[in-house]
Amino acid sequence: MRRSSSDRLGFTLVEALVAMLLSTLVVGLVTSVFLVQNEFYSDAVKKSALHESVRGAVTLVSSQLRGVASGGIVEAEADSVTYRTPLVIGGVCAVNAAETYLLLPMNGEGIDGADVSGYAVQDDTGTWTFTAATWASLYHSSGATPAQTCALVGADTTRALADFYRLDGLGASPPLQPGDLVMLYREMTLRLGTSGLDSVSTALFTGPAGGTLTEFASGLTPGSSFQYLLPHPDYWKNRVPGGNKDRILSIRFSAYGAVPSSRVGRDSLTFNLTATVPLRNVN
């Protein structure tokens, strides 16, 4: 028996066309929203990475340069700085000819000889004199015996035996005496150069001076630079040659970061940060 048309299930052509039209519109809308959201998301991720990179670069530069002493700047250029930063500063408690007994406060963690580029000795005016040396050439012993020697002159060795050392051959004129300070330093370089990850951007490289530098932060622009503050009347300089390096009071690092936006026709995403780092150990 034939069913009436009102009982039939299914779509009419018009219904199908309207449904297709509506679904196309909805899918298009969803896709559009998704794409826009995706661009926003992509930009947000890029911006976050850029912020992290720039902030990391500034933090690294600040922490590395803060403790530099006068005489500790080896090279001062607009795109690089080579410096001697204190690994640890030790207090001399006893001296016996070429033997120097001192506290090197490393919380018992010991000294990684590979980090040591040399030592510096402070004179009465607070000025440091730097001498390149290897840790192997300086180290004699550490622990109970040097601690015992220091305890004889009043050093508090409680729970710090491992931080007392005997170093040999520390040259100084006049000779070292109890109360003098000895710095173990590492010579490092910070350099701005073309990123190995992205050839159109600049990156901050860091590592031991004269050694292989590691890319630390990318996404910077060539406008990033170091500047150096000298006493009046010189003020800020882009580079400091010769003996004037010993007069540097502060170093300013300007990190300019930029990455292309994911959104068509938009300006690049930028983030700039500048830090002025006073050198705390400069007279």
Partner: protein
């Protein structure tokens, strides 16, 4: 031909297509929103961490400065300061005894700053600094050091520069003999007054020379912000340890009677006035801005040293009664109470 106006019934498998699309749309928006929030919160976290590290270093440095600047007397092993929402734990370690007057110390400050939103990840930075511990921050060269033009010890007055500490009372203290009285131009013992010392009277010519000979930070001690044990109040000497020599400051003029007897460092920013029949005695150091003449009934005794007129040159001073005896141990112990830390230049570094 059907003319039924009622809506056509919808089969169960026919409805909900548009609804599904709306749900999908809402889901897409929710996912995008969640990921956006994730990115933003990550960025906020990174920025916060960076700021926290800066705060932690500021706390460490603040603690270091505070400790070095404010510490008086013996150096404690550990001190904790709460600074601007962070905590600085200061630890000290003696490196060497350099002399009877000076030790070398290492001061380490560990600054911790915790953001309340991320309490499980506190930021920590450590700064260290070498300091000289100045145990006796002045040089007493006589029991009476004044910037007076002329000092006269008269009648019953007696000033003795010979050390009254007995042998072994305080090993390592500076030993006598000392000069008796230091003044700018003239020292006299007249009319029965006695000055003992080597030399009895020492004249240094001008105000600056007298001040320099002592090396006492008068401007600091008289400053109201300089921390002392008792400022305008008076200790109950019966209730404090017998070996403590407190620092007491009296702002303005001070006229002690026997109830004000005791020991320590007495700083009088104005004029020290010894009244008649005061029977005041003091063991330690008295530092006064100026001195009023002591009359013949001004019974008093000082064992230690009297330093006066460090801020401005005094005119003349007469002492007709009283005993001032140099005592190296009391001077030394009083000096310990003013012991302070002085940073060794260019000896700061940060652990990282």
């Amino acid at each position: 031909m059907s003319t039924d106006p009622s809506p056509r019934p919808v089969a169960p498998d026919q409805g909900g297509f548009a609804l599904a699309m709306v749900v999908l749309l809402l889901f897409a928006i929710a996912v995008a929103g969640a990921t956006g929030y994730q990115v933003v919160s990550t960025e906020a976290f990174q920025a916060q961490q960076s700021a926290e590290l800066g705060q932690a270093l500021a706390v460490a440095q603040g603690g270091l400065e505070w400790f070095i600047g404010a510490q008086r007397g013996f150096v404690p092993d550990t001190t904790t300061f709460n600074i601007n929402g962070g905590t600085a734990v200061i630890t000290t370690r003696k490196v060497a005894t350099l002399s009877n007057e000076e030790d070398l110390y290492l001061v380490r400050s560990e600054g911790t700053f915790t953001d309340r939103r991320y309490p499980q990840i506190p930021a920590v930075r450590v700064a260290s600094q070498y300091v000289a511990y100045k145990k006796v921050p002045f040089n007493i060269i006589a029991p009476v050091v004044t910037t007076s033009n002329r000092v006269r010890v008269m009648q019953y007055g007696d000033v003795n520069g010979m050390d009254h500490a007995y042998a072994g009372q305080c090993p390592g203290a500076p030993t006598a003999p000392e000069a008796g009285v230091v003044a700018r131009s003239n020292v006299q013992a007249v009319g029965g007054g006695v000055i003992s010392g080597n030399p009895a009277g020492l004249t240094l010519g001008n105000f600056a020379n007298v001040v320099d000979s002592v090396g006492l930070a008068w401007d600091v001690y008289r400053d109201p912000t300089f921390p002392v044990d008792f400022d305008g109040t008076w200790p109950n000497f019966a209730s404090i340890p017998s070996d403590s020599f407190p620092v007491i400051r009296r702002t303005g003029n001070f006229s002690p009677n026997w109830t004000r007897s005791g020991r320590g460092v007495l700083i009088v920013t104005g004029t020290l006035i010894i009244p008649d029949f005061s029977f005041w005695y003091w063991n330690g150091i008295v530092v006064a801005g100026d001195l009023q003449d002591v009359g013949q009934w001004g019974f008093w005794t000082l064992e230690g040293a009297l330093v006066a007129g460090q801020g401005a040159a005094m005119s003349n001073w007469d002492m007709e009664n009283g005993n001032i005896d140099y005592h190296s141990c009391y001077v030394r112990w009083a000096g310990y109470s003013l012991a302070h830390l002085s940073r060794v230049p260019n000896s700061w570094w940060e652990e990282w």
